[in-house]
Amino acid sequence: MSRGRLGAWVAVGLGAVYFLAPLVATFEFSLRMRRGEYSFDAYRAVFASGDFQSAFLYSAALALATIAVVAAIVVPTAYFVRLRLPRLAGIVEFITLLPLVIPAIVLVFGFIRLYGSSSILPLTATSLGADALLMFGYVGLGLPYMYRAVDTALQAIDARTLTEAAQSQGAGPVRILIEIILPNIRSGLLSGAFLTFAIVIGEFTMASLLDRPAFGPYLQRIGASRAYEPSALAIMAFALTWACLGLIQLVGGAPSAAAKR
């Protein structure tokens, strides 16, 4: 083995230890709930908890709603910008990047100010209104990921030429979007959806300040009051995120027709 190759393996090994050691330590600690032996008691306790189930289901439902809304906003926007308004691409891209540079805490205080109980549209006054407000906040957080994923997919399929080909066959814009564009950007759309799901499931700041029973605040509460369950939850959250990333790879890496054009 050459010296350069050995160096590369050492670097990879050190990196792996740096990232894996805390993970292994957390996993090992999560198995120590039963005194003197390893067990999955901490995981059992988490799954048995009604709070866990309700918080997870609440965040999952919110994530699905967020994905639906962000996709409904992003897909037509990215499509028409690419097709008809390419000069606006830079501006739209800048807008979609804003949630990455504006901290969530600033966003949520802005929301409370705008939609608080004394405002014209007092969304925080009702539970449903606060849920909707949180969901729209998450739409903002998911925007950069969804827009980039969809726009890249549109670029890969040459949306303009496909649209013109469909137009010359007599198709109108709605049919083109549904029958031609959407099926061919499926992998990009799903990538954006899984990333959005992973972000929403773990989000703490907005849910906490809007006082919603989401998974992020639940994780924080458990972390503050229990010993072994937080480690089990950390491992589960980690597995969930990797499952989402794995699904992106699976869907994005599948031999789709568009990819082989």
């Binding site: 040459d158 496909l162 013109e164 137009q167 010359s168 066959q169 007599g170 198709a171 031609i180 027709a257």
Partner: protein, 354 residues
């Protein structure tokens, strides 16, 4: 009878006019080619006919109906793209049947038409393949079938052969021409390849900088170019600077030699400068026959190109090419040798000096 008419069509992007006052009439069933270099506006005109771009000024009429502002989806025009543009999520048969489905045709009718189209493009076994499972030539055939399936009033082909390799390109262009003759569909073909244009078209429109340089049959364009641009763009030409001696008799002075054109030189007076264009294949080695022109030249280089031997010769300060058939019995002249090159008056093309 005029089927497609473009009247004073202009297209500007900002301050830059890409197409300038373009007028053209296309007959029903005609195969017309827009030929020109990149950026000459040929694709922009095609896209305006298709309805993908709106003209800045002027009118487009199909069968007497003004379609200038009609949307692309309502023009009943079939289009074949350079990049095939097959729908990647659909099989070959769904691609071909897409336009018929959009038109609301019954499933049985769609199936029959798709089968007919697949037979026409000679790919009946590939109905269930996806575009990525086809070669470039097959994809372009499917694209052609898709464009023809709904019986379009006009077929537009935007450099459809550019992405294919040379052998497939030649075969497919012959197929396109045969199909067009069989179906009688009015067709407009865009290319920058002169050989393609000359071999396939009823009429060629040579374009430069957004305007028509010359429109005519392939023979007209090749043998009787009207401008220096057309002369230089279509085929290989020797361009020699000449001075008009007697315009009425077509007499021109080339260096120290007097030659004769076949006809009076229109719009010229004695002493005017003109460019004399001569095709390499119109020149022959040997003494001039009755009424022919002759130039004494010095051989600078000899290249064997298989069936043809190309000579580079010098006449005064100017060099020109001479193409002769490679006849085994007659050895070509040697480098440095002085020879006579003869050519007919009919082969003298006189064009303006830019």
């Amino acid at each position: 009878m005029t089927f497609l008419e473009l009247e004073g069509v202009r297209k500007a992007f900002g301050a830059a006019a890409v197409v300038k006052d373009f007028s053209l009439a296309v007959e029903r069933g005609e195969f017309l080619t827009f030929l020109g270099p990149s950026g000459c506006g040929k694709t922009t005109i095609l896209r305006m006919i298709a309805g993908f771009e709106a003209p800045t000024a002027g009118a487009i009429r199909i069968a007497g109906r003004d379609v200038t502002h009609l949307s692309a989806s309502r023009r009943a025009i079939g289009m074949v793209f350079q990049a095939y543009a097959l729908f990647p999520n659909m099989t070959v048969e769904r691609n071909i049947g897409f336009g018929l489905k959009v038109a609301g045709k019954p499933a049985a009718e769609i199936a029959a038409r798709v089968a007919e189209m697949l037979a026409l493009i000679k790919l009946p076994d590939l109905a269930h393949r996806y575009p990525h499972q086809l070669s470039g030539g097959q994809q372009q055939r499917v694209s052609l079938a898709r464009a023809l399936a709904p019986n379009p009033q006009i077929l537009l082909l935007d450099e459809p052969l550019s992405a294919l390799d040379a052998r497939i390109r030649v075969a497919l262009r012959e197929e396109i021409r045969a199909l067009q003759r069989r179906l009688g569909v009015t067709t407009i073909f865009v290319t920058h390849d002169q050989e393609e244009a000359l071999s396939i078209s009823d009429r060629i429109v040579v374009m430069n900088e957004g305007a028509i340089e010359q429109a005519g049959t392939p023979s007209d364009i090749y043998n009787r170019p009207k401008t220096r641009f057309v002369a230089s763009f279509v085929g290989t030409l020797n361009m020699l600077d000449g001075g008009v001696v007697d315009p009425a008799s077509g007499v021109i002075r080339l260096g120290g030699t007097t030659i004769f054109a076949r006809a009076p030189i229109a719009g010229a007076t004695a002493g005017d400068k003109r460019t004399v264009a001569l095709r390499p294949e119109a020149l022959r080695l040997g003494l001039a026959g009755d009424g022919d022109n002759a130039l004494n030249v010095v051989v600078e280089d000899v290249s064997f190109l298989g069936a043809v031997v190309r000579l580079k010769v010098r006449h005064g300060d100017e060099s020109l090419h001479v193409d002769t058939f490679n006849v085994g019995a007659a050895a070509p002249p040697r480098q440095g040798e002085t020879v006579t090159v003869a050519f007919s008056r009919d082969d003298v093309i006189v064009v303006d000096v830019d």
